[in-house]
Symmetry: C2
Subunit: 336 residues, 2 copies
């Protein structure tokens, strides 16, 4: 039908079945989906599990370094991984605008399939809805994920304590800048691509060497490093002191942020994590991270302090200090 | 801010945190959410689990008998329940259009909270994205659910065998007619309300008396009873013979379908199930269903037959026969 999604593709009839089989089952390619039940079954060993879910509405859908599909797989795996858990399975729910090109949908699904296979985390169940032209924006995807937590690990957002070290796994700001520059149709001299990546390999390495010293982990997505540190500060009732010069950042990202009028601390990352660790474990955990391809630029950027105001304070490159608030730059809607 | 959702509510900053706490945490009200981690943890006994996910795009958002929130809770619980599983936890991902009234969002969230508490299945994790005015249609919700399968139960879509009985749990067509009549601004003499309901209590009763004789269960949502029977027929490689007079249907639904030009067999249900059962178990399972408030009108409507064409054939009220195809009536987009 001229290569576009139409309302019948979401109506529960034969056209929907063909779309699901021809695009999604083909791209995700596993026996759970082929079984075609209303749900998918799997065996678990028993113990503690985690569940998480995110919606993806990024605009544009395709950006340097990835598309909404890779984001939907990586982002949900990462929220599972931030518990120190081993991600097991994903679900994917699609809301598609009538008239969306089937070829673009196939490309997105194929990217999801690749990301899921590369991560070893299959998409075992899904859903497809279609809304009228003008009632959505191309495609929205919501993924949910489940995973198992290694025995004895219990990371919590309120676990940071004064004296703990704050580690960032690598250079910040790349995802947000890649999406914004595509959206604004900007070309920089140096290509900036999204850092979108699945972090469960990195977190497994961290848990292995330093699980007992890990307080908590979080991926600094929307709101960037600034929002993540403020959230942890408020939940753990501590302050943070960080050192601007210690924060890994590529110079072209710094330059692009300056050009775009963004504070890189507020810009979303999709393949980075922040870990708060007991000081005794910091060196071993940092070394393990640097040994992993996704943690090569990991750095200790500061530490937690006692502070009843829960402020995040930064020593700037110029030697002064400032308070890092949630959103000091512009809002960045639809970045993920 | 004049009571409307704005883009900052999805940007990862303070406004988003306040929205999540003030509306969602308040309505869903549980300690998993209050812990505020990127994911939520729970203990499981080990064994077989299931996972499922659905997106909800129903239009209008509020309809007789429920709203998008009750649908999102019931629908996902039901897809877990169709495996004979005990639903444990839900996630909820919201995509909200800028300008959507906060009061409506709160009403939807409160309905979800009530539905979830009534079912005993908490919403333990969620997500909130906001898109610009005109890029969505009020609110879309995707829920995922997990549950545990009782040992020894393994229901599958390809398990129907010739001779099996087909049971429907109650009168069909109510959800679709309720939504369509609201959408078309029709008033019927008798109010038709959606049948939206969580079926896991009913399925637990069925599993208890007749688990060994249950072949499979499915909720006839989009595409209605016709689509569900055709799907099962194709997956199990059988045909079905059903009896029109045996299908429970309220006369006002039949009348409304006639008025709307719909075939009630194609109309979505949100609180009904179809079970295929071994003949030896049919009476016991039917009796258990009729003992449950949500199965009082349960009826055997036909049986599976050997048929290499996998046709669903119906003996009509007038004594003739016809083939029941996937969608013989109009398409019904955005019914759930
Ligand atoms: N986008 C998708 N990707 C992968 N699998 C999908 C997708 N959409 C649907 N499926 C799979 O197709 C099958 C049928 O899905 P469908 O949504 O019709 O079932 P349902 O949820 O029981 O019905 P409804 O959505 O009307 O409530 C399921 O096995 C589901 O996992
Ligand atoms: N609509 C919602 N209902 C219930 N809880 C929600 C909702 N939206 C977010 N939450 C909860 O609020 C917390 C923060 O969610 P948030 O989406 O900011 O985390 P994240 O997924 O790690 O970040 P991002 O979505 O930017 O990747 C989580 O505990 C999440 O479960
Ligand atoms: Mg996330
Ligand atoms: Mg579905
Ligand atoms: Mg996160
Ligand atoms: Mg469903
Ligand atoms: Mg989220
Ligand atoms: Mg179903």
């Amino acid at each position: 039908r001229n290569g576009l999604v139409d309302l019948s593709h979401g109506a529960g009839g034969r056209a929907m079945g063909q779309l699901i089989e021809g695009i999604f089952h083909k791209a995700f390619d596993n026996d759970w989906l082929r079984a075609g039940n209303d749900q998918s079954a799997f065996a678990v060993p028993g113990g503690r599990m985690v569940m998480t879910s995110d919606g993806y509405v990024v605009s544009p859908l395709f950006f340097p370094g990835g598309n909404i599909g890779s984001l939907a797989v990586h982002g949900t795996i990462n929220d599972v991984a931030m518990a120190g858990a081993v991600p097991l399975y994903l679900s994917a729910s699609f809301i598609i605008e009538e008239g969306f090109p089937l070829a673009d949908l196939a490309r997105i699904a194929e990217t999801m399939g690749e990301a899921s296979r590369e991560a070893g985390v299959p998409i075992i169940t899904g859903d497809t809805k279609v809304v009228e032209r003008g009632k959505a924006d191309g495609v929205f995807i919501s993924t949910a994920g489940v995973g198992v937590v290694p025995p004895s690990l219990d990371l919590r957002s309120d676990a940071a304590r004064p004296g703990d070290a704050v580690i960032v796994s690598g250079s910040i700001g790349e995802h947000g800048v890649a999406v914004m520059s595509k959206r604004e149709n900007l070309e920089f001299d140096v290509d900036i691509v999204s850092d979108t990546a699945a972090l469960h390999g990195l977190t497994a390495a961290m848990v292995e060497v330093g699980g007992a010293h890990l307080r908590l982990m979080r991926d600094p997505t929307r709101g960037g490093l600034a929002a993540t540190l403020n959230e942890i500060a408020n939940q753990s009732k501590v302050g943070f002191r960080i050192d601007e010069d210690g924060i890994p950042m590529r110079p072209e990202v710094a330059a692009a942020c300056e050009f775009l009028g963004l504070d890189p601390l507020n810009v979303a990352n999709e393949g980075k994590l922040v870990a708060v660790v007991e000081p005794e474990g910091a060196d071993a955990i940092l070394a393990a991270m640097r040994n992993h391809p996704l943690g090569r630029d990991a750095a200790i950027i500061g530490h937690a302090v006692a502070d009843e105001h829960c402020f995040v304070q930064m020593e700037t490159s110029f030697g002064g200090g400032r308070i890092v608030d949630w959103l000091s730059g512009e809002q960045l809607p639809r970045i993920c």
